[in-house]
Subunit: 202 residues, 4 copies
């Protein structure tokens, strides 16, 4: 498709907005007791898993924002296909306050594995969207092709990452804490900087 | 009216903010069960139409953001009338989390057609706001007049689009899925890039 | 106080964010029926006043954003006092989804006048915050002093505006629709461009 | 870690977004009566402490935004560690609508001291995150080392501030109003401009 006249800056601004709103809406999953009040220690203890999930989803969205940032730092211009792929990517981010709340609500029920699968599948699809954005940008010349070893390593990470989330989702039927540990491991793999081997700051 | 001293950048930033918040607030329409828990598959199946509507409204707002982007890329400066018209346009975007929730809530009732009409009328009015922004900007010299064939095609699209949403709204009394299909068709017509015939990227 | 090293751009970005979130959160005041469903026309008719208030608050916040924009276009640099005053101004904006919901909830009760007073007092205080920002910026040399007739007219508008909201609030005890009409009149006075007499665009 | 290619501007934009959304979501803690209506004066009087807490949290987040602004004005470039530390900082901001609501809900119960501790501990941890960001940036050369007396005073403030919040939290078991007064005092210490001794504007 022909290149858009869209400035990257507004794509970044809109994407930052969606990331910032989604990550902050996670707090709405933290309920304050309604109706008759339990004692606060009892209430907080009962909600402990919600707090863990809140931090988990916050961390994943935060690291995904960081990688979105890195991804678009490489993209020199946008076309319509890229923008539509980016919208699909953002759809996967914006739905997380819901999948997090769902997992929290069903965590102590027999349906916890299914809720964890829903949670992991959204991350899987979102990971695929990242891969599509990167792959499309490189193939269509919107971003430089992966030429260095470091850049090929990044592409490999993007190709394998969604698989990692999918494995985590499948493991949910064995153990939810193990599934969550895998989600953490996968996202942690995205933290180290990539794409350039700058000298460490003195 | 005299030209404003307003920089376009802040208009774009504010508009991006409203688009980003509205598109992300759609997630609040996705409910987590309260009170006694249904089994999760039963719950998810019962909410399936909410998920479809969530994706539909996300896609429409996303594509409308893309076109807002394109529209303001052509506008060289703003005046007060343009800013007020843009506020009317944003009003139509910000109300969508409500009309989406309303349609989801009434979808299985005898009032589903009316709920779909409300949903479609908001898109119709919002489409008219886009047309007014473009038309006013061209007439008052804030944007270059449509001179090329491609630009006249865009104006035609903007003039016909609202009619498309209105037809979708009217069709609601025949069939809701058909109405939704028409909403999808209309918004899909706005995806292709326009206004310049750039050579495809190699 | 000494001048801050703060770039105006980040103050504008943060303020735009608060305006954009507050104006979009208004949609949360539009309720979808819970529990047993009324017929939709009955429900919509019963909520009609909520929709009017939604549009009213959207319009006021939108026009106040426009004037915030104009105000900061004149401010050449910021200091701490100015930033704190701007935070007070933003406090008045961010509370509007609450005062709007409160007025909607009490509109058909004997306490409607008091709810309208609460609504109007927030606008009054917010208007005073605008006046303080403008007055402080001009007095401390952060913005050029009002030298032309047009600029003095703006200062007069900023000085009288809060009084207008206060009158609207007081009128609430006579007639709520009249109070709302006065709120509309006051905010409409802020729409015309000011501060420069540009030639109309050809 | 190697320096990122990330532009500071997008870090600031994302952070501004989180601050703006969190500060505006505080309004959701202000409830409108559901079910049977109390008289409005009775309702408002009963909610008075919620309004005080709303203003308190708004003021603290606002001043923390100001200091985030100042902090990043000194940071010349970012690396991955800094961005991760900044995400931890933002986590502490985004959770405030919850801790504020929790304190408001338990303020009149025997568990009020514990709720105030939760509230204060979040500020304490958030204050530590600020200190870590500043300390890391200075140590790793991303920001100039504190060389002047004024800059050393800022670092002292950042090192002592979290202790102040912790003291406020501990005092909660003596008196909640006193604890809140301490929170106010600590945040007030962050208002004066720092880092440069500019001449006062004439």
């Amino acid at each position: 498709m022909p290149a858009e006249s869209l400035a990257d800056s507004r794509i970044a601004a809109f994407s930052d907005g969606v990331f910032a709103v989604a990550i902050t809406l996670l707090v709405l999953d933290l309920q304050v007791p309604k109706g008759p009040l339990e004692r606060l220690p009892v209430f907080l203890a009962g909600e402990a898993s919600s707090y863990v999930l809140f931090v988990l989803s916050f961390a994943i969205i935060g690291i995904k924002w960081l990688n979105h940032h890195r991804l678009f730092a490489r993209i020199r211009r946008a076309d319509t296909t890229l923008i539509v792929l980016n919208l699909v990517l953002l759809l996967g981010i914006s739905v997380v306050p819901f999948t997090t709340a769902l997992l929290g609500r069903y965590l102590t029920t027999p349906d916890a594995p299914l809720a964890s699968v829903v949670y992991g599948v959204v991350w899987t699809l979102n990971g695929i969207a990242y891969t599509l954005v990167l792959g499309y940008a490189q193939r269509s010349g919107l971003a430089p092709a992966a030429s260095t070893l470091a850049e090929r390593r990044v592409f490999l990470l993007y190709a394998i990452g969604p698989l990692g989330y999918a494995v985590g989702a499948a493991i949910s039927y064995v153990s939810i804490p193990l599934a969550i540990a895998i989600y953490c491991l996968v996202v942690a793999a995205y933290i180290p900087p990539y794409g350039r081997r700058a000298k460490p700051a003195a």
